[in-house]
Symmetry: C2
Subunit: 371 residues, 2 copies
Amino acid sequence: MRILHTGDWHIGRKMNGLDLLEDQEYILEQLFTYIDKEDIDLVVVAGDIFDRANPSQAALKLANDALVKINIELGKKLIIISGNHDSRERINYGSEWFKSTDFYINTDLDKVHEPVSIDDVDFYLIPHIDVLEARVYFEDESIESHEDAYQKIVEKISKVMNKDRTNIAVGHLYLSGSIESDSERPLSMGLSEAVSVDTFKDFDYTLLGHLHHPFAVNHDKAFYSGSLLKYSFSEVKQPKGFRLIDTSDKKVTFVPLTPKHDLVYHQGTFEDLVNREVTFEDKDAYYKFELSNMAGISEPMSKVRLLYPNTLELKPLIEEQNNDLKQIDISKVNDREIFEAFINQTLDREVTEFEFETFKNYFVGEDNETD
Amino acid sequence: MRILHTGDWHIGRKMNGLDLLEDQEYILEQLFTYIDKEDIDLVVVAGDIFDRANPSQAALKLANDALVKINIELGKKLIIISGNHDSRERINYGSEWFKSTDFYINTDLDKVHEPVSIDDVDFYLIPHIDVLEARVYFEDESIESHEDAYQKIVEKISKVMNKDRTNIAVGHLYLSGSIESDSERPLSMGLSEAVSVDTFKDFDYTLLGHLHHPFAVNHDKAFYSGSLLKYSFSEVKQPKGFRLIDTSDKKVTFVPLTPKHDLVYHQGTFEDLVNREVTFEDKDAYYKFELSNMAGISEPMSKVRLLYPNTLELKPLIEEQNNDLKQIDISKVNDREIFEAFINQTLDREVTEFEFETFKNYFVGEDNETD
């Protein structure tokens, strides 16, 4: 079976106020062309079809048109799960009818252990969930992290899984591929959502959405497709495209797509840019410039846009800033040291015992949760 | 063919801040029971499924559940058009798949002349439109009223209509049944949306939504189903239910439904109510009271709610007000007389010539349009 794995479409996304619907339509057309020409059997969209729970009418139309194209016009089987940006009810609307053309959506924890069986493959569709939801659903207060929650789900699936078939999990979560990032230390707030790659070890493939970098995890059985487009200037260096999984020869490849407008980030001086000392080939890209020596320049954005009309962001570059930041190995310092360094750096004074006690009480324990 | 005609569900509607989803679920259950028991072939929902373009997730779920119940679980054919409260893109989402189970939605002016043919009946699905839309669509600036717009649409349908078949129009509009209400006089603002019943004379039946009173028009071939529930205190005296059309014996009947909470409006004195001089059998109804002699009473709402917990509105009744309003026959007075009476009554003085000229210039001509 040849599976095209995509995700994080974020239909309706805006960037710096700019509507990206045309860019999304453009890149989806490329996806359709590929699906049509390359003999794909099944398309998997691993969550975040929409950018928000209440998408605009134009976003709804573009999404509907894309699904009609893939499933009805091109006649490809289709699997979708809900991501954290999607409204489950929105995504689920109409799903009873979609089944008639092998288009399967799951947004329901109650159904994660009911595989969608196509040929010799069982697909387990796991919608994005958070810790509180999992606690309520499993009636288990001991669930304290995404790791706990997803382990519970995989346990539930394991009980029914037929190992003689090819088993594929589809999820929308933050998978951590390395032991370090599993740290449960209180200050590692950003990591509390991380789910270890071991959780999914029983699956032949785990097709993921959530992280926008297609190579966020380097694993032979679990991978991200990456997002449809570069959705922030932190993603400028990320390739964008989709995954292709061939279950017969067990090959997994990443296929890049070319956006209507690329995203470019540049740091330099204002003079160099406007005097064309530095130039960029692609005049139509979306640019973010951080430029020094802009003080006293009137309407710098207008001047920059004469050269690059689609400049989205222009910021003064302050070069001295952050000079005293050092690379430190976070695993070798304790909470007290980190907190002291933080207060020292931001308030330029020492930490009091009272402050540290307050900090400890606040961050250690049940409150240490982010969504 | 036995057709159940309903409309104006307004799923997600609130009344005085109160969420009516439970009331809507309750009454829909009655509808399902009827559909199931009475051997209905087809259900028509004549617009305004939702109360607003961006329904809540709970509203989306209730609507989806209702459509699944009727079309998939009970296996009934289903026809829906968009009303003025619906978002066309929202209603249209998924419609390509719905066709597979004889569930047809039209939200598109381009398709009004493509009938849905079921047995010997052709259904023409006409979504709600406004004047500006019709002007753009037909590229005809001479369209100045809903009447003009719907005549254009019916013209388009008439060209393809097969008179040998039973032809049914489904629409969401303000149909006027009598010659008087077709008045094009400038002051008849509320009537500018009215479409004459003659517009639809070529159809065997015209099934309508928009007006909430099931007997808003008294005609043997065109009728409203009325809304699913009483949605404002101006509707207290209206029966609520659905229409049943039997095309074989040409019988059209109205079938009333019983809501979970009725709506009751009462005028009287505060003393009479709290001293139980007047009482109402149904303690659970939604009440609106306009009561005199409330001056000086502390927390009157709390006292009223001791008797009627679901009281939604409590207003002081000022009995002298409006005493000098007279019933007048609007067809016998001219614009000048109406305007003079208005200024006289509200400002307590005579109209100046300048004012009347301004009024005339403003209201006569192209500005006389409401949506």
